[in-house]
């Protein structure tokens, strides 16, 4: 993955995927709509590195902000998660 894949403000959706291995995309934030806050630099993808594999990709990680209503169906707060680029898909502009 290259630098600067998603600019701040980009609307993204997280993956629905429920992998059998370790992942850092918590279940409560799967398949959810969020907005990129900022890039946090590049880091080895924990999903692969945690398996002891040497061929882990290094990806951009983004702070992504979610409205509580989109995560839980209620609430007026926001939750920010730190997510690797391959967890994210850019939303089609509407």
């Amino acid at each position: 993955m290259t630098d600067g894949g998603f600019a701040p403000g980009t609307r993204v959706r997280t993956s629905h995927h429920d992998p059998v291995h370790h992942t850092r995309l918590p279940r409560y934030a799967r398949g959810k709509h969020g907005v990129v806050v900022e890039s946090e630099g590049s880091h080895p993808l924990a999903d692969i590195r945690s398996q002891g594999r040497a061929d882990f990709p290094v990806e951009q990680v983004y702070a992504v902000r979610f409205a509580a209503r989109d995560l839980w169906g209620e609430g007026d707060h926001h939750v920010v998660l730190d997510l690797w680029e391959s967890y994210l898909e850019e939303e089609e502009s509407q």
Binding site: P26, H43, D82
Partner: protein, 195 residues
């Protein structure tokens, strides 16, 4: 909400693991103690409190802290802590937004600035509830926020570690950096208390 966690299930599991490692000659107890001492060396919430007090008294430092926290805390001789390089991000409380930190997957936080994490920070109850109903959780910590203050919860799921910059309390204009730092608790650096 005590900081003591010697009886927690995780502590028992870690002690069992230590015993097994020693029994099988994989590591000696002394080696383990040295590694733990090195890991925790200098880790204290007094460090985070010092950083906060500096940010309250030095606006240029505050600006640098919010822009690049790793570089700013290094000016005071501190690091985020941890076994691998971490990006430190300081999030500032204002009259509009209150911040609180959590690690829903385990118990990550900037150990070097906050000291060893309290038992409740690692508890499933805190981790699962603060992302879902933070206002109610903060109430249980004795922190009642005005209804129009928004809440942002920072879930440390990657290599960034978060620290809260609390609001400076009113009536503290005459206090110096040291006196201000003495007001800042570990819970205030996590966001489960105000100052």
């Amino acid at each position: 909400m005590s900081g003591d966690h010697s009886d927690a299930l995780i502590s028992r599991r870690v002690r069992r693991l230590e015993t097994l490692l020693e029994e099988r000659g994989i590591v000696g107890g002394a080696t383990l103690d040295e590694a733990i001492d090195a890991f925790l060396s200098g880790a204290s919430p007094a460090n985070g409190a010092h950083v906060v007090a500096r940010a309250w008294t030095d606006p240029d430092f505050r600006t640098r802290l919010l822009a690049d926290a790793n570089a700013a805390v290094a000016e005071l001789g501190y690091a985020s802590g941890g076994v691998q390089p971490q990006r430190l991000r300081v999030v500032e409380n204002t009259d509009r937004v209150h911040n609180v930190i959590v690690c829903t997957l385990c118990s990550c936080y900037p150990l070097g600035l906050l000291g060893p994490s309290p038992g409740w920070y690692k508890s499933e109850a805190y981790r699962s509830r603060v992302v879902r109903e933070p206002r109610a959780v903060l109430e249980e910590f004795g922190l009642t926020l005005p209804a129009d203050t928004g809440i942002t919860v920072w879930d440390s799921t990657s290599e960034s570690r978060y620290m809260v910059l609390p609001r400076r309390p009113a009536g503290t204009d005459g206090l110096d950096e040291k006196a201000l730092a003495a007001l800042v608790t570990r819970n205030a650096l996590i966001g489960t208390a105000a100052v």
